[in-house]
Amino acid sequence: MTTMAPASTPVALRRNVELTVDGEPVTVPEGSTILEACRAQGIEVPTLCYLETLAPVNVCRVCVVELEGSRALVPSCSRPVAAGMVVHTASERVRTSRRMVLELLASSVDLSTADGDVHRWIDEYGARPERHGPSAPPGDRDHAHAGHHEPPEVGLAATVAQVVKRDNDQYVRDYSKCILCYKCVEACGEEAQNTFAIAVAGRGFDARISTELDVALPDSACVYCGNCIAVCPTGALMFVSEHDLRAQGEWDEDRQEVTRTVCPYCGVGCNLELHVQDNRIVKVTSPLDHDVTSGNLCVKGRFGFEFAQGGG
């Protein structure tokens, strides 16, 4: 991805820009996105690939709005505001595209562990994934060759379903749940970790997150910082501990306590959130808004707890 973040200017220098959203005048600082203008108005705009801490990749297209004078809809998460813009967020065109994006995803991806908002939006927009037909059996997506594919049996809907990748003790990659939002790639690469262990490979419906030639994670450049897990919105990337508890039907967020602490391993001062269920640490996160980490950690903070509780 080479999309750039909208240039941000120091706050003091920012002028204000006035635009119209759903008939109401809105004033926001120059350099804001349409999404920010909508949020300032209290208008909910669904987003999937957008994350405050990453430069927008604008690929999911669920956040599209109608911008007068523009032939197609525009992604609100990345389009900077301009004075005099007239934006509609609830027109029939906008609703249809959002409904279809949600429907296309829900018909091809296992969203069972996705953020709750996604399910609410699917209902609110009236997406009907079932009208694409029953799911085709899982395929060998890692060996798809660009430019060639076998269409599924007539009447079945192709999905991204595939075997869960469990090749290390830290986390599980279940790409049947991947909506290809690029967040993990950004987090592993340019935006945070600078490791570039994973990338988008293949193209079209066969596009997928992959290491080089799909080698197992231990053979890749991965350093198990878990920053990809932290940004994944669907649970495709998951702590082994969480994955196993879910598999046993034992995962229960109501029984969990989240304790905030400072990582003991080095002097940087990363904040940790320890998710504890039945006296065991089952997952470690870091607050997105923490100014040291922006949600990112290293292997020690993220997975060091395994040593702390003598597991592994």
Binding site: M4, R93, T96, S97, G147, I179, R203, G204, S220
Partner: protein, 629 residues
């Protein structure tokens, strides 16, 4: 960056291939033999290695051509040399159809089964191959695979032969028959690519009485390797004139000539050049878009195979006019003849001071490189093209920013189609006023049309803009005797159908716009009553499914779903009622057009919608009320 590259060493062959592009490694840090010194000196080479990322595609080509496939070890070695993460390099390489990652037979024959060839031979040309030589991918020394349009549509059948190892490379075969495949299988790896006949260009108007060819006037009349022949025919006079006029003079001419881009979007060329020229950010780049992959299009191939100096001259004019000192020709990987002839022409031009640090004695600097694509229609979209040149995945970028502000390597960049650039030469040769008198007031000049399918004289035609569809088909002799015209596909896979009742349609930008269709890249596929329209439209749906870059949801999943719905309708097994399925297609059409990032997704439903509206599917039993595009 924590770089970890695969441990397995590359074979000598793999190393040789990579080094042939990147040069021998300078030091152990970048894949050479480690010497004791390497651990003790800090090398400033990392930045240099990273800045060579743009060589990723050429290096991948070298390995693929030498070895026939790209192994983990080869990829690892390449990545060490470029200081690139292997996962990223794989992400790039796996987006192209011409690269493979598993051992493959040394000879691979890519056989076109796309729209024009399908129409010309009255069915799926690969069925016979499958019957005689087994399914795609079978065979130990020679195998075949179906391919999208190979840009030889006027011959009605085509193949690209890829051979690995010594004497390897690529060669086109058109026309291509099952008999040719038998011979290739018999020869096996012994086949000499040089022995294969070079496909001809079919330009039926050449030499015909009364035809006044401009863009095509040199095709077939000059030795394409000879710079002297090109100059004797008036070549490089345009550059001389451009240097005399200066940038503002050239831009004023283009604006007065009202030249519009021929690559699909009909953007005013003068305005584009002016925007690059006045951009204060440096350096500037200029790119000739020769990725021609729109099914049914072969015009750029004919021009590049037979008139390579003309493109180089035009690109040089673009460079000196817009202040770009470096140009690229991005050529589709399936055009081996054009690649060789352009490389040769560039070397000749450089020898004679027509490229380099002092272009034609003007004191201005301009040079260019020919870069090959690797089998990706999307790489023709201008911003995906920049990513491809930079060694990134060929994914379109979000616009704005536009290329004239932030294009190749994030710098101001001009990009034009080959035919547009050659039209610039005509503007300079004739003068803007005379140029603008051709065609219509809003669509000036002449235009190339690629006629293929069920037509008596297929080939490349040049006519003034605004010529009616009927007279163009007349030039080509109409459909074969005893058959009747069913439909014409205008604009290619991204275009739409018109019918026998549209013979008065003026082929100008405004004419087709008013009729709700497009000229696109000048594709005119003629379809008579023998063509299986359902299979034809199904092929288009498959094309988009295969060529989507996969970046955005509407196109990545929408093209898959569109192919599935079509499959159900064709099989007569709708989910729910036929009406439900048509409503689903209409919804897909809307999200594709409205919410896709780029033109690929935005046009991916155009042919399907158009076929439904015209009742061309299921013997007319299926007709949608899809909206006008």
């Amino acid at each position: 960056m924590d770089l970890r590259t695969p441990e397995a060493p590359p074979t000598a062959e793999e190393r040789f291939a990579v080094d042939s592009v990147l040069g021998p490694p300078e030091s152990g840090w970048f894949g050479g033999e480690r010497t004791p010194l390497d651990g003790h000196v800090a090398l400033g080479g990392l930045a240099k290695a990273r800045s060579r990322r743009h060589l990723l595609l050429p290096a991948l080509h070298a390995v693929q051509e030498q070895v026939g496939w790209i192994s983990l070890a080869a990829l690892g070695y390449l990545c060490e040399r470029l200081d690139l993460a292997p996962a990223e390099a794989y992400g790039v390489a796996s987006a192209y159809a011409l690269f493979t990652f598993e051992p493959a037979p040394p000879v691979v024959v890519h056989v076109c089964d796309d729209v024009a060839c399908r129409a010309a031979c009255g069915g799926d040309p690969t069925e016979e191959l499958a019957a005689r030589h087994g399914p795609p991918g079978s065979g130990t020394t020679v195998t075949w695979r179906p391919s999208p349009c190979l840009g030889h549509c006027e011959h009605g059948s085509a193949a690209l032969v890829q051979k690995a190892g010594a004497g390897g490379g690529r060669a086109s075969l058109a026309p291509f028959t099952a008999g040719d495949m038998d011979r290739l299988v018999a020869l096996g790896p012994q086949v000499e690519l040089e022995d294969l006949p070079v496909p001809l260009a079919l330009v039926p108007q050449a030499g015909a009485e009364g035809s006044q060819l401009r863009l095509l006037r040199r095709v077939g009349r000059l030795d394409p390797s000879s710079l002297d022949a090109y100059r004797a025919a008036g070549g490089y006079e345009g550059l001389r004139r451009a240097l005399e006029m200066g940038p503002s003079g050239v831009i004023a001419e283009l604006e007065e000539a009202k030249l519009l881009g021929r690559g699909g979007a009909a953007f005013p060329t003068g305005a584009k050049w002016a925007a690059v020229a006045r951009n204060p950010v440096r350096p500037h780049y200029f790119v000739a878009n020769a990725d021609e992959s729109e099914p049914g299009t072969f015009k750029d191939r004919v021009l590049l195979d037979h008139d390579p100096y003309a493109l180089l001259e035009a690109l040089t004019i673009a460079g000196v006019t817009t202040g770009a000192e470096k140009g690229f020709v991005y050529l589709r990987g399936e055009y081996p003849v054009a690649a060789a002839r352009l490389e040769h022409a560039a070397a000749e031009a450089r020898n004679r001071g027509l490229l380099g640090s002092d272009v034609m004695g003007s004191g201005l600097r301009f040079d260019l490189e020919v870069r090959r694509g690797a089998g990706a229609y999307i790489a023709g979209e201008e911003t995906a093209l920049f990513n491809s040149l930079e060694g990134r995945r060929p994914e379109p970028r979000n616009k704005p920013p536009f290329p004239v502000d932030r294009g190749l390597f994030e710098k101001p960049t001009g990009v034009n189609n080959v035919e547009t650039l050659l039209s610039v030469l005509e503007v300079l040769a004739m003068g803007a006023a005379a140029y603008a008198r051709q065609g219509t007031p809003d669509s000036t000049g002449t235009r190339l049309f690629c006629l293929s399918g069920c037509v008596a004289r297929p080939g490349l035609y040049e006519v003034p803009m605004g010529t009616t569809l009927g007279s163009l088909l007349g030039l080509a002799g109409g459909v074969a005797e005893g058959r009747s015209l069913r439909a014409v596909l205008l604009g290619g896979a991204a275009g739409s159908f018109v019918g026998p009742e549209d013979m008065d349609l003026p082929l100008s930008f405004e004419g087709v716009r008013a009729a709700g269709t497009t000229l696109g890249s000048g594709v005119v596929v003629v379809l008579d009553d023998t063509v299986d329209m359902t299979a034809f439209v199904g092929r288009v749906a498959r094309f988009f499914r295969d060529e989507s870059c996969g970046q955005c949801v509407p196109c990545r999943v929408g093209t898959q779903r569109q192919e599935e719905v079509l499959g159900r309708l064709v099989a007569g097994r709708p989910l729910g009622s036929v009406g439900d399925e048509l409503a689903l297609l209409a919804d897909l059409d809307q999200v594709l057009r409205d919410a896709s990032i780029c033109g690929l997704g935005q046009t991916a439903s155009s042919v399907v919608t158009s076929a439904l509206r015209r009742g061309l599917l299921g013997n007319g039993a299926l007709s949608g009320n899809g909206r006008q595009p």
